[in-house]
């Protein structure tokens, strides 16, 4: 039986065919020496995949991930990735990824915006089939009108797919989340697909300093037998085993089977916490925890919010910030605790819907404290002054109301 201890698969302490040392994940993340490089987000994706022992990757062009997915192709040509192909559409790509994951491969792909929605039927199927595929969403706007600009609306569609969703603020986050994401997603008690999200252009097409693990060290290979479900490779025959049997003709139990499996997927998302918290140093970061005004955000909106805090600080006013790192699992308890004392909560977002504000409103008490804004959409930038202005406008309005109704 081919297992992790199969002689063809290099083990921790051994070198792969590219000469990379297969390294214990925690050692790779925390102990291996890091050096800084000045890279675009697309190049960061390539460098993370170089270190991730990926077996199979499928690419399909869509801005702003086309460069990253073709760079992964270059890695394949160099021998770092087992197999690589261009699919024919995002729906097919996600099916090809699923097929490879069913067959026991570690899989990587990327997409954005219209590609995410074209592929959509696959994502809940991945989760239901417990396939720990990683997809990087370099989020962009959704038609119509056609736009290629950064916008986080597509994340709203992803929230109930049963996938783990981590939202990177920066290129550094992206690098770390991609490597750590495989580790968490592949834990047997989790074993779910993971979407690592970064904001298109803002992260993919800008250059940033990134502290990277050594090029000659890589994650251990995926072990498809450390899984809650059977790998479809006929290495453990001959049980009558279908992945994943649907339940339509057994009406007596079909609703129970489906419902309990759906609940199990949600439970698996929650079980990912205990692996994620030590790796990401918590699901949220908090700055100025005792401030009465708190900003809560994810992705690059966090960076803009941090700048806004700086503007307030220059004026001697204290504003706090909560950075959400994981959208699934959603840091409900963490946010409740961190906002307990807050009087006003602002949620800056790069989308028209304000889905993050809605999530927060549905989790905390006294949710009239939450102001869903400021929003920009369709590729507009969010200068920190806009955030400051939104807060001031709101506070002035509140003061007027108090005066009138006193």
């Amino acid at each position: 039986m081919a297992t992790q201890t199969d002689s063809r698969v290099p083990q921790i302490g051994q070198r792969n065919k590219k000469g990379q040392l297969v390294t214990d994940p925690n050692e790779l993340f925390f102990l291996s020496p890091r050096t800084s490089s000045f890279l675009t987000g697309s190049e960061v994706i390539r460098e993370a995949i170089r270190r991730a022992s990926v077996d199979f990757s499928v690419a399909y062009p869509i801005t702003p991930q086309s460069e990253a997915s073709s760079l992964v192709g270059e890695l394949y040509a160099e021998g770092y990735v087992g197999d690589y192909m261009r699919g024919e559409s995002e729906f097919a790509v996600m099916g090809q990824c699923a097929g490879a994951a069913f067959g026991g491969a570690r899989v990587f792909t990327t997409t954005a915006g219209p590609g995410t929605l074209r592929a959509f039927e696959n994502f809940p199927m991945w989760a239901g089939s417990r396939l720990p595929i990683q997809v990087v969403f370099t989020v962009r706007g959704i038609n119509s009108p056609l736009t290629i600009q950064p916008d986080t609306l597509e994340i709203a569609f992803m929230l109930e797919t049963g996938m783990l969703l981590w939202h990177a603020e920066s290129a550094q986050d992206l690098f770390d989340y991609m490597l750590k994401g495989y580790y968490v997603a592949e834990q047997p008690e989790v074993h779910l697909p993971i979407g690592v999200i970064c904001d298109g252009f803002f992260v993919t097409h800008t250059k940033d300093m990134v502290m990277m693990t050594p090029e000659d060290r890589t994650l251990p290979h995926y072990d498809p037998y450390r899984s809650p479900v059977v790998c479809m490779d006929m290495e453990v025959p001959p049980v009558r085993m279908m992945r994943d049997p649907f339940v339509m003709k057994s009406n007596y139990i079909s609703y129970m089977t489906h419902a309990s499996w759906q609940l199990e997927i949600r439970a698996a998302i929650e079980r990912s916490r205990k692996h994620t918290v030590p790796l990401l140093d918590g699901l949220i970061d908090v700055e100025n925890p005792d401030a009465e005004i708190m900003l809560i955000s994810s992705g690059t909106a966090v960076s803009q919010a941090r700048e806004a805090i700086r503007l307030f600080r220059a004026r001697g006013e204290k504003v706090g910030l909560i950075k959400i790192k994981t959208l699934r699992p959603f840091p409900t308890e963490e946010i409740r605790k961190a906002t307990e004392h807050a009087k006003h909560i602002f949620v800056p977002e790069f989308n028209v819907a304000g889905w993050l504000a809605r999530e927060i409103k549905s989790t905390i008490d006294r949710n009239h404290r939450v102001v869903a804004g400021p929003h920009v959409a369709g590729g507009m930038t969010m200068p920190p002054e806009i955030i400051v202005e939104e807060i001031e406008k709101h506070m002035a309005h509140r003061r007027n109301k108090e005066l009138v109704h006193g």
């Binding site: 199979f56 197999d83 192909m85 729906f91 490779d233 009558r240």
Partner: protein
């Protein structure tokens, strides 16, 4: 008893009889396996929940008896009547979505090639005509364009059976069906010809009436897909329920439809590369026979 298919002795008293039978008298690792094993060996297909007399079930049995390498074969299905059978098949098989079967098979075959570079792992798709020709057509064709190394089998019942008998691309022109209220307006899609033009190295169109023919075609299709390129087999499995036939009338319906001049008359396309591969196999077999008799 086969070598790879074994059971841990500690489990013998708790495993179901069906499992023990598969281990004892399943036709794994038997290069001469075929439909003639019926009645003496445990079949890879157990009971199913298709309509009584549905020709899909007999076609399925013939195919499962014929695949050359079940101990290293993974099958991919799709939504439809065929997927009522798959849970009862004793090779690993995947159901995921409706119509994506050739995309799943593409990734699966490539993953198995990466993970087991020195071993044979066959992948076989088996799906309905709606899945193959309508909703999944782009993925069917694209896998052939790319020369993906697996077999695609289409159970052509000329309609969407599982949702109640709606028009499909493989339905005959003029047929009155749900969603074709005045009769289907366009010709039955010529997928076998399209398959040939799209890069398949072996194409066959047939019915499931003759087990020996199904066996020959399936073996060729799987071996050619393993060594040469994509293969396509289209089998008429009439939906007796939707065309108003009785349980025992399926076989006759298949025989009528494969008569000379009829739409399911047996046809085969073999590319020159596939033909020389088959010739090589035949020669090897001959040599083995001579060696055995002398």
């Amino acid at each position: 008893m086969a070598n790879r298919i074994q059971i841990n002795k500690e489990f013998i008293d708790i495993m179901p009889q069906d499992y023990l039978d598969l281990v004892d008298s399943g036709t794994f690792e038997n290069p001469n396996r075929g439909w003639k094993d019926f009645g003496t060996a445990t079949e890879l297909i157990a009971e199913h929940s298709l309509c009584a007399g549905c020709p899909e079930s007999i076609a399925f049995r013939h195919i499962m008896a014929s695949i050359p390498n079940p101990e290293d074969t993974v099958m991919v299905g799709s939504t439809g009547c065929t997927s009522l059978v798959f849970p009862m098949i004793a090779v690993h098989n995947i159901h995921s979505l409706f119509g994506n079967q050739n995309a799943i098979a593409t990734g699966l075959k490539r993953a198995l090639a990466v993970r087991f570079p020195d071993r044979v792992k066959d992948v076989i798709v088996l799906a309905g005509d709606g899945a193959t020709v309508d909703i999944g057509l782009d993925m069917t064709l694209q896998s052939w364009f790319r020369k993906e190394r697996f077999t695609t089998i289409c159970f052509d019942n000329e309609l969407y059976a599982n949702t109640g008998g709606q028009e499909s691309g493989l339905m005959q022109k003029g047929f009155l069906a749900k969603m074709a209220p005045v009769g289907k307006r366009f010709e039955k899609v010529r997928l076998p010809e399209i398959a040939r033009e799209s890069g398949c190295d072996y194409v066959a169109i047939m019915t499931a009436s003759k087990p020996s023919l199904v066996e020959k075609v399936i073996k060729q299709a799987v071996l050619i897909a393993r060594e040469i390129g994509p293969t396509y087999v289209q089998i008429y499995t009439p939906c007796i329920l939707e065309i108003g036939k009785q349980s025992m009338e399926g076989l006759q319906e298949m025989r009528t439809s494969e008569a000379p001049g009829e739409r399911f008359k047996f046809r085969e396309f073999i590319s020159p590369e596939a033909q020389s591969f088959l010739d090589g196999l035949a020669e090897k077999k001959k040599a083995e026979k001579i060696a055995a008799t002398t």
